[in-house]
Symmetry: C2
Subunit: 383 residues, 2 copies
Amino acid sequence: MITNRRNFLKSAGMLTAAAALFNPASLFAQKGSKKSGSSKVMKLEFEPYELQFKHAFAISTLTRTTTPIVLTKITYDGYTGYGEASMPPYLGESHASVLDFLKRVDLSQFSSPFMIEDIMAYVDSISTNNCAAKASVDIALHDLVGRIMGQPWWKIWGFDAADCPNTSYTVGLDTRDVIIEKTKEAAPYKVIKVKLGHDEATDKMLINTIREVTDTVICVDANQGWKDKNYALDMINWLAERNVNMIEQPLSKYMLDDTAWLTERSPLPIIADEACQRLSDVKKLHGAYSGINIKLMKCTGLHEAREMITLAQALNMKLMVGCMSETSCGITAAAQIAPKMEWVDLDGNLLITNDRFTGGMEIVDGKVTLSDRPGLGIEPIKA
Amino acid sequence: MITNRRNFLKSAGMLTAAAALFNPASLFAQKGSKKSGSSKVMKLEFEPYELQFKHAFAISTLTRTTTPIVLTKITYDGYTGYGEASMPPYLGESHASVLDFLKRVDLSQFSSPFMIEDIMAYVDSISTNNCAAKASVDIALHDLVGRIMGQPWWKIWGFDAADCPNTSYTVGLDTRDVIIEKTKEAAPYKVIKVKLGHDEATDKMLINTIREVTDTVICVDANQGWKDKNYALDMINWLAERNVNMIEQPLSKYMLDDTAWLTERSPLPIIADEACQRLSDVKKLHGAYSGINIKLMKCTGLHEAREMITLAQALNMKLMVGCMSETSCGITAAAQIAPKMEWVDLDGNLLITNDRFTGGMEIVDGKVTLSDRPGLGIEPIKA
């Protein structure tokens, strides 16, 4: 009953309160990255928003047409940094839970936005979960601090932008004709991503249909959809003969031993997605998976993502970066680590009709292309 | 024979060539951190130098009065960054080997000093060892890039300068009277470091003599001096009763199993020093040691040191930063990671009479104190 009451507050009262408090047009419509004031106190603002999909989005368990997000902004000393929380329903967050969380964040206690370790340790201590809400603070902080230093984060971290791999473009499950049409749309991309984990006939139909159109390499995300390790191994062997080069989350995230069995026998690398949330998961997955899929909305943002990279590399684990449905803000934040990745799945902003930012990461000839602009290099556009 | 000839070249010919090529007074005497030119090609320069000790320096195997170092500087776009290689004889490097190495480094092939990962991967590929020479490039690069961004590295990394611990001050083996005098000199420090690993009577005399003067906490570095695990455990139990709070390298770096045995039974944390050189060592030491001592001259510099921190933390290993005899350049570089350390042993520049830099890390009331100045925040002084 207590849980129910809290959920009710989260999904009703708080959202209304937030809607009254924050006016999207006034908060995010102005160009805000340049010096426009000079308070040396960090101020966090936020606004709920709803992303609209170009195509309905099908994964193994449901179909959706929108994703709720919350846009954040932190101002300090005349600089503004932008962030974002994206809340696909399976993560258990919502407008209400994120707004509720962000109202509890008091950044005025920190003397400088550079204190990212202390600030994120504090933000992380506010609640057990709320990873997307935490990421929305982390991303805005990084944008802010990068703007102050006059550099993008890929450069601050010493990465080489030329190391960015091709990004994948998702072809979802649909009728045969629509799959063919979508595969043709994906022609500018060098990698196709396919979400499997349906029944065998459906999974094979999807792959075979794509293969009628193109031989472009395919990344498969099974989204925990395969129930048995032997079946999964058969499927992977079948896929390996069809120019598939990796499998994300073939089995349930709870089936660690079965996944280790599968990874040992699989001709393709097995990447943890649902099984890998945060830095503390990486060590546990070592030996069972070939690598990890880092998503900022799961790992609380760029600060922890940077540490996950170091740890995974030290453990000889492969690296991938993924995303939710996000604006160019979240996607460009994730793109900062693209030079260290073997696979990049950052098409979240390409699949929506109502982005809120320009100037972020671009896909040029299928490849992630990072700008030299400070912070994330993005600017807000009118809603 | 081939080795001998190479050693001869290293210790004679190359040093002479270097001495002819580089004039200390002209290279390092000017104030060089501000814009003074604008070539967008990185230029590496270097100069051999000899540090003079205030006191002769005794460890378990020898006594010395000087340490050879090489000062480096990288210029780019009107900015200058300073670095340093320190070559205590037990590391196997010398003026000749470092100068020989640095002559092979061609930074002009890189378009930007921000490409620290690529540059250090290239530098590391030039030879198998030469870690101090590699560190001298890494430190100068970090100073340079920090100056371009207008920030010190502890801040760029998101650390909190207030987290810096007290540094230790070394009281070396000597006569009873000199030990008493030196212990009194150490009064401003909150931690005393003692190098043990002599015979039992000598080790105990040193500790007992210090304890006649002060109860200040002691860090013990046994420098691989204890030959047997049972003897080491007895000594550690004896030390634990005398306000000692950690033991560095009690046994030979090759005695990994014996060290694991000892760590399991020791009331004090056991820290790897000689056993821990680089990032790749950390994982191997996990389980056998409680933590690691990071030294820039062993691990090729700040870039790798930053990764060692992340890995050690993920493996629940304790962290310490140490140094060789170095100028304020190398010491201040190492101090950038001090906020993440449990123990800091950065007195290398306090024990020499001929420092070459001002403006670096300071010890205030026994505590490492970092400046807000860009890069390392140091300026060269006349030789």
